[in-house]
Every structure is written in structure tokens, then in C-alpha cells.
Amino acid sequence: MTRYQKTQTVQDFDKFADALRDPNANLPANLRHSLTGRHEDSFASFAVYRNNVAFGLRQVLRDKFPLLGVLLGAQAFEDLIGYYVDIEPPRSPLLVDYGESFPDFLDGLPSLESLAFASDVARLEWAMQQAYYAADHVPMAATDIANLTPEDVLNFCPRFAPCVQILASPWPIYQLWQFLKHDSEQPTFSATQAETVMVFRFDYEIQLTLLTPEKHAFLIYLADGRSIGDAMVEAHLALEDFDAIFVQLVTHKLIAS
């Protein structure tokens, strides 16, 4: 018979929390099934809480990594997010941050060895989330940019909008994104086809641009605070490539004032 206790102890909270994550854990002694009044039956209604927690967290991950779900198929994806929720539950009520470690978690899974690019698909989706929720900024006015002389442009050290994310992948991540997003023909690619993408937000829509190695290097130099002239030289960026990327930065309002 259960000993009568007057209060819900710290140990009761510990046990309740443990049982939310472990179906085989013992329930705290103070729980009663609402209809039968028996402690032994309380597991039946306790399951509502356990299911709510598991379902809610899985849904957070489903919402954040839909393309990974397409890549892996529904069952494999559900198994993976269930495992992740078990191993790495959220530490904060700020669920917008939950899932940051998911790509690294995928890297460590032997079952994904044959789909090594899956973690980069997750990294891409995480970058898209970051771009979506990034701080707003005041873009540099088009007239101010138009008034720059060629010399001004070379000496200019632009600051990127907070939404700009760059993802360099050893895999053809841009082609993978197109395939998964549009459900088109599966691309044929080899591991040598590394691709880098710039992810950004424009009018609240998330967009991706494929970057050549030179454009990628150019943007990295700029992000480090180098001037456009320096960055072009260091990145071996051709003038027409500079024109293309600079126009894109300006028209998508990605240069902060």
C-alpha cells in the first residue's frame, strides 16, 4: 500500500519528469487514476502527458526540417526525430532555438552513412529558419549606392543584413534543395560537386543563391570587414562576377545602412 504523503516532493517532480521521457520508469506515488482512484492505473492517463510532450516536440522538428522528411521518407524521418527528441530534449522554452544541434546529431548516426549529405540538408533548413527569424535591418538606400564613384565602391566595406547566411557544403546542396523542394528528377551528382549557397530573406520570403567558389570567397572576405576592392583581389573575382553579386546584394536589400 502506498504511504500517505502530504506534499508533492521534489522526488515526485523528478519521477514525473523521468516518466515523461521513459515509458518504463515508475510513476510518482502520489498519482491517481481519476476514475478508478488507483495508483496502479494512473499510467493510463499519464500517457496523455507523455504523448503531448513527444508529439509536440516532433511537430516542432517536422515544421523545421520538411525537406529532410522528403529526403528520408516519412517513417525513417519519424524514427530519427523521435530518437533526437529522446537524446536531446529542449533546454529552453524558446522552441525557435530547438533543433540547432540536429544536423550535427545526424552526422553521428551510423544509419545515415549512406546518406551523408542528409545532415547538410538539415543545415540548409536550419539556415533558412535563421534567415526567416533574423533581425530586421535598414537597407542602404539605392540612391546612396548609385552615388558611389568607382573608387568609392572599391573602398566600400559593406555590412550584410542579419538574414544573410552562407552554407558551404561538400555536397551539391543547391541541386539537392531544388530536387527536394520541387520534387523533380533526382539529380545525378558525385561527392566532388561541392556547392555553396547564400540563404537570405527578401520581402519575408526565403531565397537561395548558388555561389561560385570566387563569389563565396568574396562574400567571406566582405563579412570579415574587408573592402570590396581587397575582397575582389583576394577572391580572384572577375569584374562581371562582381557586378552580378553586387547587383543581387543591392536589389535584395542585403546591404545594411
Binding site: 506515488a29 481519476s34 494512473s42 522554452p93
Partner: protein, 286 residues
């Protein structure tokens, strides 16, 4: 400290992004909106932009789900600071949280978890509510939970526990009538008795929502507060009872799952509005 629960009137709905366009059509068809605090603790982007737009036309009620007020640990200072930041710019008409815990041992459980109604839990909850009200500089509302379990060591009824919390801390109360119905069915007590005893002098907001009918692992019937269905007829009847007998309070239509097109939300809001208006009418004639 500013008393909670006097900033709203009439019927509001829980804001969902799919209803943004409809809600921006003026004049507004409903009186106010409620948002979940944690959804707006982001740096920028469309989410905040929509809230800024809506706040120009609608009083906002901020409903938190992450403070874990009934938990063993004090409210997380970082989370409280994020809530304060939201409150400071949004200046909501009302702020509410739950008689529940959701964090323990450094893990966030993303659900509203129950406590027994005993003295240590009462004292700790009072401290936590005090801390939040001090940090925010204003009173908050505390919502009654939906219950699926009972505790052997509860020393009093939930409705008395809530009254005592309000008296002790000066907080207001959020009466979720769907939760009352769900708990009453699950725990086999009388919803009307609960509603008779509720401390209406503290009520700043009423919630109405839908539930799911399920059975537990032993085959016993169990109602689940899933906010995923239209409001049940029996919950409408309880709401009508409260309005007719206890007064007209700002009332929210909640839907978090299976979110319907705007006309369906509006129809439920209008039905609640008619019940509120009839109650006000009766009050005038009396």
C-alpha cells in the same frame, strides 16, 4: 500594482498567421487578439511584422506557456527577460500564464504539467507569481488547467487553490471553461459547482476551445484539451451559464490545431458575442 483584467472587452480570437489577411481587413470584425508569447521571442522578420501590424488595430492579450510557474525552480530569468522585452514594446492589454509546470531539471517539456494542490506547492507558486509580477511591473492572469490525473495529496479543490493564489499574490484569473468541462468529465466532478465557486471578482478573461474524445489505455473515456475542434455544445452551455449568472467577461476563441478558415473562427466568435450581449442586456434590464 496595476490590477489585471481590465483592458479588454468583448470577444477575441487566438491569432494564427493564416488569418492575418482577414484580420487586416477593416473595420475589425472582432474586438481583440491573443498571441502566445514564446512565438514572438524572435529577432525579427514576418512574425514580428504581422504582430506590429495587428497591434495597431487590436488590443493584444499575451498568453505565455513557458514560465513553468508551478515548477520546482524559479522562473528562468532569461525567459522572464525575453517576456519583459516583448511586453515593453507591445504594451499588451493583458498577460496570462498557467497553473502548471513545463521545465524541470534543465529540460523543457513543452506541455502544461499538473501539480497537487498542497501547501508547499501553493507557497512556491505564490513566490514565482510574485517574481513575475515584480519583473513585469503588473499583475498577470493565471489559467485553470485541463486535468487528466489526480493526486493523492491534494489538500484542497482546484477552484479554492486558484482563489487563494489570487488573494495572496494579487494576480487575476483566466477561466478556461473548456478546461473546466474536460477536467470535470475526466475526474468525475460537477462543472457547475466549480463554476459557482469560481472567484469572478478576479476573472480577466475567459477561454473557449474544443476538445478531443479519446479513451485511455484501460479503456476509460478521456477528454483531451487539444484546441483542435469546434467548441462543444456543452461548453457553450456552461459559457452561457457564466455570462447569465456571473457577468460578461472578455472571451477568447482558441484554436491551435486543425485551424479552420477565418469564416469558421468568426462564426464562433460571433456566437460568443451574442451570448455576451444577451447577458449584458439582461444586466441592464435588471
Amino acid at each position: 500594482m496595476k490590477r489585471a483584467g481590465h483592458g479588454l472587452q468583448g470577444v477575441g480570437v487566438g491569432f494564427k498567421p493564416r488569418h492575418y489577411e482577414a484580420l487586416m481587413e477593416l473595420p475589425p470584425a472582432i474586438s481583440w487578439l491573443e498571441v502566445h508569447a514564446e512565438n514572438y521571442m524572435v529577432a525579427g522578420g514576418e512574425t514580428l511584422a504581422q504582430l506590429r501590424d495587428l497591434a495597431q488595430y487590436y488590443p493584444i492579450s499575451v498568453h505565455g506557456v513557458g514560465l513553468s510557474l508551478a515548477g520546482q525552480a524559479a522562473p528562468d530569468p532569461a525567459h522572464l527577460a525575453r517576456l519583459k522585452q516583448l511586453i515593453d514594446w507591445l504594451k499588451p492589454a493583458q498577460i496570462s500564464e498557467h497553473l502548471a509546470w513545463s521545465s524541470h531539471g534543465g529540460v523543457y517539456f513543452n506541455d502544461l504539467l499538473p501539480i497537487s494542490y498542497d501547501q508547499p506547492n501553493f507557497q512556491r507558486l505564490c513566490q514565482h507569481i510574485d517574481q513575475v509580477q515584480q519583473a513585469l511591473g503588473r499583475a498577470i492572469l493565471i489559467e485553470n488547467p485541463a486535468n487528466y490525473l489526480s493526486f493523492s495529496n491534494s489538500a484542497c479543490e482546484e477552484v479554492d487553490f486558484l482563489s487563494a493564489l489570487a488573494s495572496e499574490t494579487g494576480c487575476g484569473l483566466l477561466l478556461d471553461i473548456n478546461n473546466v468541462y474536460v477536467s470535470a468529465q475526466n475526474q468525475q466532478w460537477d462543472a457547475m459547482s466549480y463554476l459557482y465557486k469560481f472567484d469572478y471578482s478576479r476573472v480577466g478573461e475567459i477561454h473557449l476551445a474544443g476538445f478531443a474524445s479519446d479513451t485511455d489505455a484501460l479503456g476509460h473515456p478521456l477528454l483531451i484539451d487539444n484546441h483542435g475542434a469546434p467548441i462543444d455544445q456543452r461548453v457553450w452551455q456552461l459559457f452561457d451559464f457564466v455570462c447569465q449568472n456571473m457577468g460578461a467577461f472578455p472571451t477568447l476563441i482558441e484554436r491551435d490545431n486543425n485551424i479552420p478558415p477565418w469564416p469558421e473562427m468568426l462564426a464562433e466568435a460571433q456566437r460568443a458575442g451574442q451570448i455576451l450581449a444577451a447577458a449584458a442586456d439582461q444586466l441592464v434590464r435588471a
